[in-house]
Assembly symmetry: C2
Homo-oligomer: 191 residues x 2
Amino acid sequence: MQLLKDKIRTDGTVMPGSILNVGSFLNQQADVVLYNEIGREFARRFAGVTVDRILTIEASGIGVACITAQYFKNVPVAFARKFRAKNINDDFYCAEVTSYTHGVDYTITVPRPYLLPGESILIIDDFLANGCAIEGLAAITKAAGAVIAGAGVVIEKGFQNGGKRLRDNGIRIESLVIIDRMNVEEGIIFR
Amino acid sequence: MQLLKDKIRTDGTVMPGSILNVGSFLNQQADVVLYNEIGREFARRFAGVTVDRILTIEASGIGVACITAQYFKNVPVAFARKFRAKNINDDFYCAEVTSYTHGVDYTITVPRPYLLPGESILIIDDFLANGCAIEGLAAITKAAGAVIAGAGVVIEKGFQNGGKRLRDNGIRIESLVIIDRMNVEEGIIFR
């Protein structure tokens, strides 16, 4: 997706430790025009795939997921909440997730009524790096007896192993851009 | 807003302690069709008002804010993050907020580049009860040298004092519905 590559090159900042700061348009600040282009592109890539619901994770996935839902016949969007503590409760589907970026384990939860057996679920997230967040969302989807239509990712860090592991596990991943390499000296090298 | 009242009556649940659970369409699950009607109504109420940016707070304000931005010429949306610890850092605007619902104090932060001096800011949030969240967003807006165009609220709990205090402080509040009273016995009484 050329528009997104251009935006990342113009407004993204590569920081030490393979961190890409795209907060000014993708995370803590949302470029709603770009979000619409992203939603349109996900719809193009998943054309012909049944999608009953979009599932994402707080906080920065929510905006992209809601705008994207407009391109999938306004299906409902549910998001998983993150808790630092183990949060075992029969009212929720739960999964344990390790964030390597932040060096913490957390539990993600979705209320049971927001995922129904037999539904086809499109997972949407802004980043795919080690893949643990999407893996947790996939585990919750399966626990609900729902089917994973695929995962739409805005930016995949292709130099981390999450994308490969998820694809090896049979999940269709559509990443709008994949970064092969990035560092302060060279900048960003897209696949 | 009749559509919203109907939805709250049909799908909302009044719980002990003046808690209204509207998670199935307004919070952890988003009804994107309803979000669009909400955005359209905010645009109608703030017609003729300059809005350069929308400011909200994670997590459940983000979806409504992003959809609403589409009705304000796709202005950027920034959201404040919540931290349990004091989070003092020169890169951010910060405000201290007390959540009476959850019985905790937290710090909300917005990166400085996401609010510019002289801009006209529309605050959007899903709930207004004691008003502390919006008060924190207003304090951050003022600290940035920006102007508060007003605050668009989806549901105001009119029996709590936040709405009155914010209006007394000169902030224009547009609440799509105001609940005068609610309890398990009577249900919800709208103003």
